[in-house]
């Protein structure tokens, strides 16, 4: 964790993305279909970042997009899929099977404990629950060790300190105070464990307003703040919007058809071919789409409809 006391951390996607360097260990916030920092990933793809070492627990759209966008060198995740909705992640699978990305698969509690070691300022953490699994084959850095107190064998896993965490949040102020609605997934752990933290926020609040609601994370842990409404689209950012299942279906059609089709029908259309995030939102359906995705709160029936429309 770094300490960042600047009074005004508000910047643009373009500038904030420059904090992420080629080869960095990058923690991506949110998970599966919820609150993933997609606008920032778009910008990293546009800027042509390379060889990122992505770490996280269970993810989907974000990691698949980053693999398809060519910015990933290593994936240290525990699970990458579109779950029961759309199934296996096409770009991620292709990248793993072709050798384009190095697989460093891990397990949720292992990663969480490694982040906690970084948060505690400790070099490693002992664990029992990796023994017996072949997951150890992904991690030559783990060391087997005899616990000097009980004489039992444990596995020592090193602290995990990402270079940068990129997290999409509900609210922030310009000082960097951040409010996240639960579930936090691993976001708070990422923020505490990483050297730098970039947040993209749905809303920027006056500092006095933030004081009233109380931040989830205080300003001194945050490096940069970017105001990006709908910055998690097509994943969800409740209470603002549900996930955009129709858009994910379109994404899946492009991604499943191979890298060329994915480039032409998705990357060119939604990332390289747009001038800004606002332009991207227009292209995915603009105000009408955003209103539709906000309709989850009207009734349970409306919410269910969002799970069935394509």
């Amino acid at each position: 964790m770094g300490i960042f006391v600047e009074r005004n951390k508000l910047t643009t996607l373009e500038e904030a993305a420059k904090i992420v360097k080629d080869g960095d260990i990058v923690a991506i916030g949110g998970g599966l279909c919820l609150r993933e920092p997609i606008a920032m990933l778009h910008e990293l793809i546009r800027q042509g970042r390379r060889n990122l070492h992505i770490v996280g627990t269970a993810h989907g759209f974000d990691v698949d997009l980053a693999c398809g966008g060519g910015i990933v060198g290593t994936v240290e995740e525990t699970h990458v899929s579109f779950e029961q909705d759309f199934g296996l992640a096409p770009n991620y699978r292709r990248a793993c099977e072709s050798g384009a990305v190095k697989i460093k698969e891990s397990c949720c509690n292992t990663i969480i404990n490694q982040l906690r070691a970084a948060e505690f300022g400790m070099p490693f953490v002992p664990m029992r629950s990796i023994k017996g699994s072949d997951e150890i084959r992904f991690h030559p850095e783990y060391k087997e060790f005899t616990d000097p107190f009980t004489g039992k064998r444990v596995i020592l896993v090193p602290a995990l300190e990402p270079d940068v965490a990129i997290i999409h949040v509900n609210k922030a102020d310009v000082h960097g105070n951040v409010k996240i609605e639960p579930p936090y997934v691993a976001d708070v752990l990422f923020m505490r464990a990483s050297k730098k933290v970039i947040v993209t926020a749905e809303e920027i609040l006056p500092e006095e307003e933030m004081k009233k609601i109380g931040p989830t994370i205080p300003y001194y842990e945050i490096t940069a703040v970017v105001h990006v409404p709908f910055g998690a689209h097509p994943t969800s950012c409740y209470p603002y919007y549900a996930y955009d299942r129709a858009h994910i279906a379109e994404y899946m059609r492009a991604a499943s058809a191979g890298p060329e089709v994915f480039k032409k029908n998705y990357l060119d259309k939604y990332i390289f071919g747009v001038k800004s995030h606002a332009d991207y939102i227009e292209r995915v359906g603009g105000e009408a789409k955003m209103q539709l995705l906000a309709s989850w709160k009207e009734s349970h029936e409306k919410w269910m409809e969002l799970f069935t429309y394509e």
Binding site: H79, V80, L88, L189, A242, M304
Partner: protein, 280 residues
């Protein structure tokens, strides 16, 4: 065939998974787990009212969702909750030996209950990449017990080969069963006792207490011991008292339909399996 009320394989399957949950236990399901999600919610409303229900990745305590979603990390899954915890607290509970049950599946499941959710090939040269085990590697070691489920027990016949899910030996062990090439659970000093039930679309198994090999306990009304043997690469132990499973009640099936209007329970089944019908 008492009154001819029709039940689908998906509904019967949910009941079988739910039956592995005991009341007053602490229970968690992970990602990509539609059937455990329905089964846990069903159990909480029926025989396990005092179970401590951790609603998946979103980690809500005792949620009461208006419907069950296509993903485990939607806000639907935190509605009506008593509290939120962070996911690390659930893993801490497991590490201390206080998480009673979880649920795991696998593209390959071997006779000792090890599961492969990672890959075919090697970490360096991967032929087929599966999604990964999420919390499975750690939780399969730490949970007091866990239920294995698969809706793909029936072999897939390709032109030149037969693909088994229940295999003699996993190409890669993601989640730990009873005996691994690195030793058994006692040798490994693991906290939990391992898998105790395996629910498939062809039968329900436990494990032989001596050999720790999967043991057939229950058949569906339309499966036989021969069905099991044809579709299993290893030779399971056959319990001397293999029986047709007890059928659920009409009320139980109606409850499943009510809590799962989007039929997420069907998503894991092959379309031809969903044609199987049972009558109570």
């Amino acid at each position: 065939m008492s009154n001819g009320f029709e039940v689908g394989i998906d509904e019967l399957f949910v009941v079988n998974v739910a039956r592995t949950i005991r009341d007053r236990s602490t229970v968690f399901h992970g990602v990509s787990s539609p059937i455990p999600m329905v089964a846990m919610y069903f159990a909480k409303l029926t025989h396990a009212k005092d179970m401590v229900y951790f609603g998946g990745v979103s980690s809500a305590v005792d949620p009461n969702p208006p419907f069950l979603p296509y993903t485990t990390n939607d806000w639907v899954m935190i509605q009506g909750r008593t509290a939120m915890v962070t996911v690390d607290k659930i893993f801490d509970l497991a590490q201390r030996g206080e998480l009673d049950r979880s649920f795991f599946s696998g593209a390959q499941i071997d006779k000792y209950g090890n599961q492969n959710v990672s890959l075919i090939g090697t970490p360096e040269k991967c032929k087929i990449k599966f999604p990964g085990g999420a919390g499975g590697c750690n939780l399969s070691a730490d949970c007091v017990n866990y239920t294995i489920w698969t809706t793909r027990h029936r072999v897939q016949r390709k032109k030149d080969r037969v693909i088994y899910t229940l295999v003699e030996k996993c190409d890669f062990i993601t989640n730990v069963g009873h005996v691994t090439p690195y030793g058994n659970r006692r040798d490994l000093d693991l906290v939990g006792n391992g898998p105790d039930w395996v629910v498939t679309e062809l039968g329900v198994f436990d494990f032989d207490p001596e050999t720790k090999v999967m043991r057939l306990r229950y058949l569906y009304p339309d499966t036989t011991v021969e069905t099991i043997l044809e579709n299993t690469e290893f030779r399971p132990v056959i319990h001397p008292d293999v029986r047709i499973m007890d059928m659920p009640t009409r009320e139980e099936i109606e409850l499943i339909r009510q809590i799962d209007p989007l039929k997420v329970r069907q998503l894991e089944f092959q379309p031809e399996e969903l044609k199987r019908k049972f009558y109570i």
